[in-house]
Subunit: 206 residues, 8 copies
Amino acid sequence: MADYPAIPSRLSIDDAAVLLIDHQSGLLSRVQDYGPDEFRNNVLALAEAAKFFELPTILTTSFEQGPNGVIMPELKALFPDVPFIARPGQINAWDNEEFVAAVKATDRKQLVMAGVVTDVCVAFPALSALREGYEVFVVTDASGTFNKSVRDAALMRMQQAGAVMTSWFAVACELQRDMEGLARLLGDRLPAYRNLITSHQAVANR
Amino acid sequence: MADYPAIPSRLSIDDAAVLLIDHQSGLLSRVQDYGPDEFRNNVLALAEAAKFFELPTILTTSFEQGPNGVIMPELKALFPDVPFIARPGQINAWDNEEFVAAVKATDRKQLVMAGVVTDVCVAFPALSALREGYEVFVVTDASGTFNKSVRDAALMRMQQAGAVMTSWFAVACELQRDMEGLARLLGDRLPAYRNLITSHQAVANR
Amino acid sequence: MADYPAIPSRLSIDDAAVLLIDHQSGLLSRVQDYGPDEFRNNVLALAEAAKFFELPTILTTSFEQGPNGVIMPELKALFPDVPFIARPGQINAWDNEEFVAAVKATDRKQLVMAGVVTDVCVAFPALSALREGYEVFVVTDASGTFNKSVRDAALMRMQQAGAVMTSWFAVACELQRDMEGLARLLGDRLPAYRNLITSHQAVANR
Amino acid sequence: MADYPAIPSRLSIDDAAVLLIDHQSGLLSRVQDYGPDEFRNNVLALAEAAKFFELPTILTTSFEQGPNGVIMPELKALFPDVPFIARPGQINAWDNEEFVAAVKATDRKQLVMAGVVTDVCVAFPALSALREGYEVFVVTDASGTFNKSVRDAALMRMQQAGAVMTSWFAVACELQRDMEGLARLLGDRLPAYRNLITSHQAVANR
Amino acid sequence: MADYPAIPSRLSIDDAAVLLIDHQSGLLSRVQDYGPDEFRNNVLALAEAAKFFELPTILTTSFEQGPNGVIMPELKALFPDVPFIARPGQINAWDNEEFVAAVKATDRKQLVMAGVVTDVCVAFPALSALREGYEVFVVTDASGTFNKSVRDAALMRMQQAGAVMTSWFAVACELQRDMEGLARLLGDRLPAYRNLITSHQAVANR
Amino acid sequence: MADYPAIPSRLSIDDAAVLLIDHQSGLLSRVQDYGPDEFRNNVLALAEAAKFFELPTILTTSFEQGPNGVIMPELKALFPDVPFIARPGQINAWDNEEFVAAVKATDRKQLVMAGVVTDVCVAFPALSALREGYEVFVVTDASGTFNKSVRDAALMRMQQAGAVMTSWFAVACELQRDMEGLARLLGDRLPAYRNLITSHQAVANR
Amino acid sequence: MADYPAIPSRLSIDDAAVLLIDHQSGLLSRVQDYGPDEFRNNVLALAEAAKFFELPTILTTSFEQGPNGVIMPELKALFPDVPFIARPGQINAWDNEEFVAAVKATDRKQLVMAGVVTDVCVAFPALSALREGYEVFVVTDASGTFNKSVRDAALMRMQQAGAVMTSWFAVACELQRDMEGLARLLGDRLPAYRNLITSHQAVANR
Amino acid sequence: MADYPAIPSRLSIDDAAVLLIDHQSGLLSRVQDYGPDEFRNNVLALAEAAKFFELPTILTTSFEQGPNGVIMPELKALFPDVPFIARPGQINAWDNEEFVAAVKATDRKQLVMAGVVTDVCVAFPALSALREGYEVFVVTDASGTFNKSVRDAALMRMQQAGAVMTSWFAVACELQRDMEGLARLLGDRLPAYRNLITSHQAVANR
């Protein structure tokens, strides 16, 4: 059998923390590799999954007082008590000591990251965390950027350095490991799956 | 100056009724020309606009007890008191006397239509209504079907017969004629516009 | 109200005939605006619908002995007894007297047409039939050609001349007017719909 | 020969006026059917062409004090002295008396229109102007909206009512009628054409 | 039956002339709605068809001494003796008296047009010819322009004015009316069809 | 010469087993990265290939009694006697002891996997199997998910861990190693190849 | 600095041989990830480059007497004297002893490969050659298959095993290392580059 | 934790040099994987970033006197004093001694590269530099080529050899590490970001 490369470990409810980076009202309008309905849904789905599994979660933003805008109000409302690092200037969140301290305080080694824009606000801290020995799981569909071409380059770069590419639905399923408990989350954030549930219950309840 | 064709009249709050056709849990899973997040948002946006402007609205479904599934629960919840014609068999809603009677009872001549699937459940009653002298406005982005190629054929057919192609946002704006009143609706159903509002208010309220 | 253009009449089981033009093994390999699985399914779905509704049907081919190849064997098997005009040379089937005679012998005024390639083998007889006063319904998804750009030009040309653009599913639904009878056909040719039926029956039969 | 429909007249430097509608900093971020580089270039190219040919030009915006944002500064700088109607509330610019008065004051019958978003801010005044007997030329590539599907519906609607679809380059060429004078404009706004000029001059000047 | 619009007449070897407009080495590099291999093949296929059927053909260019570049050498070589109007300045070829005189001298009423760029060099003379009562057949796949969006607007504009959209293969087939004679042309310009011929002959000649 | 990475071994009829995971009627309606005709054909083609080569095959599903729906009836009919593990709850099939036991009982080290959805039902057991030293061949075109973006992330993740990306046709060819025996399978599941066979036999049999 | 992976050596006129695999008239009609004009051009461009640089070249086909069809006549004409292995049955050319012997006889270690279909006829011998220590350069644009999704899987698989992805133009340039000598080849196979040459010479020769 | 591959170091203002390769007026017209407005903007944005951070920068071209054309005049104007190596013949800039000497003279180990065409003029020197131990950052959106398929192969090849894929915006942000200083650059080269700034300042300055 071939000598395969090392295989990243499995995402676990005991080892993971979630970092939501720069989902700000101004920057969000720069996301053009996903439609706005789909993207908003993806970000909130990831956030709700983090909440559902009670994972340590960290919010961060950059220059909220400038054109980047303020954090998505739904995120702030969902996580009123988690560390929220409003960076004054550093582009790479990992350059902010308070942010790194918050990450270290979680005592987790698997970092689930999403943000805007993918090639900068996600890629830079992802690479920094990898350099320090963390496992990084990039939630590609809760991360957005200028266009598909820029996204492709960013994903290639992060994969090359060892980050794992994934999606919010896969994160939720990988953490849960059992489907039943996911019902509410899937019903709210997967309209297509909700249709299945609706059809099924209408007949089952007859 | 050229001899232009007749120009359809302007959509008006006093002349319009809204027909929501066969948005059922089973059929919705057949919509592949829009993503599920985007499509659900578009349908609810149109429905909420109909409610907001207090337009006469009619719901109809076909074969709810079969694989087509039941009506989107959100639609039923939004319009608990409007005519809801659950057709036993007719594919073309206009072949159902109760449905046509409900339309006539609105005493409106502009019919705003959306449904699933576009080429059948929208196109057939649209053509029937045009034959009886109604003006028909097809909300293309709240109507879905199997693929882009089938949609294109359906839109060409309806346009050829005189139907007006439009979108839920244009319907809302055409009815309102003044932007201020639309704020809540836009904020809820246009995530991108909500971002603008969020950014703007954050600065304006400083 | 606006002065709308004339509206094509409704496709009817009593008025329609089906013309299947040049679906030949060689020509089929030139179809690149649909995937081969999807296209074969569409052609057979239309053919089976014609059979199901017992519509007069005419098969025709050109140059079967040359690289165009022979007719799809499934079509020949499905319609062993209908007129089958193997044209020796005329590109436009309407230039073949035997073909036109067969059409006239159906005594139908609504011609449902599909074929390969769309811009020639469908468009030419469609235009000829329109010139002689027939109503023409082009089944766009059972007609194929070299690429999307050539198809677009062909559909624009036929629409401009008054032909109605439609799809095999819309044809089947428009003829049936009642959904129940279509179950078998839809189950066989709409894998997605079959999934719905399977799900539904599994629960309903419990 | 066939009985063709009436043919819109030719765009002329003596008959045309240009209406630039709601190209505002907030609304521009909602344009997703063109890339931001391309769209900004197209809008400025149309504006510079209007200036170059000294066409009567009218600027208008809606709710500048709200999230729609202010007019593109380049447009304001390019046309410091033309009528600039900052509409307080009307969505359809044609509902604003001052705007209509400004249009009428140009004494032109060909209205070249572009704006954001296509389906509302362009389509509504285009239809209103057509109803009053104006010829309308819609500059599709200097008009933007939420997505391709919404654009398609908007263009179909305007075409159905008699509006002419065109692009900024075609407008510039149709007004000029002679290529030499366009050199500067093309050099600045068509990077690809500038490359040709650069190559050509490098050799020609040797 | 519905009251269909007038139907354009059939393209005929006795009534048609071919106008090849501004296929110049510089302008060709601006064509981005077709790949360069495909586009060159389409233009030469149309030209060879014109030659094959001995249709009156007219070549024209604009500013050959500037960055637009010189005419495709293959076209010049294929038609050494037809009228070749190298326009000094007029963008719309129909504004050049010599060109119009050449068209009139053909004594044909069906004008088959192709050129670069579609929205200007094809659309303008197409509209001019339509206004003078000619039938115009636009060969869309032998005409190219900046991008798909600009092409769409140009085709909508020409169709609205009564021009017929077609492709080089449909033109060749419509003129020939009988497939056998087309073998050589198809073999040279349809690589896919040549494969069929190769396969067929290999077996047939065994 | 460069120091290349280890090269996965060749898929072999003696070493391979096939795992078909969660192809259920409800989940199938969530597949939007392939058209339904194409996808159904791909899944059945892979299944028929497994049958044709008499490979050990394992079927598994999750929550058949819920909205996920029941297994594709064609799969059940094709493999009446193979292990069929209807998992009550585990999302990752590898978390089900019965499933892993069935895999181990095959005594094969090459696992050919396909399923719905790619990013969860395929990726999770693929990674688990790789961790235990199996070689994994992912049949990408018999595996489907929500959209192309989610698929891309899933394929990148599995490739990174050493899985081999392939397609049903490549699997069939790699196992067979000789083309003649594949004729029936290809004829049934590759409509395009069947056309070639039809053309060829028509001439060869003359 | 990071510990980069081994870097494949540079393609060299002294080390490279070219393998053209199964470019047969029947199989070519299965290529749908490239347009037929573009693909034929790419294959001939690669072949002409092999000829131009006098690289050892090997032709091979499978089942020429069946529906796969015969080799592209242009390839046979271009290389009348090179080894041409018409394989009776082996799908993987590397399973054919005569083919492997011909490769070994070239005494080259860099194998430039292209063929139809990518996932089988190219991927299988590519993997086999890599296993035996050859360097493999896959000419992706002279290799074709059923669709983009299948191609993607094939390229990922070959890259994973160490093959280098390239294109015919890059191969020609990498072998030449000096642009002047490539003029004729580029002029014939890059229509876009020929336009540049034409423009340039027209001015330079004045 | 898994044994991740080595992670490329962080791009730094002290270690990086910028190589702009063959952005020439003729070659630029061959770029078809980006629109011309977008591509010109990307190239100038990268160049202005290099200037802004005062990075050592090297310009090079090939055959300026031939159809490749002369360097983009804006680049020459922006960098009047940097090394400009007009290569007479070598396709791979790294084959030119003067070029390599200029690179070595910068005494930098991180090479940021962009050029036209990606698969040749960027890929070849990128691979050469990697072989000599440099770190290579490929600015994918300031590099262009014939089509998306050729680009994909080129990026896969460079990634395989250890090059880092990035974009001009990520380069600018990675060098700056602090957002404030980037304002002017972003305002000029990111029209979408400029809109945010405009909106923000309009409100903030009230």
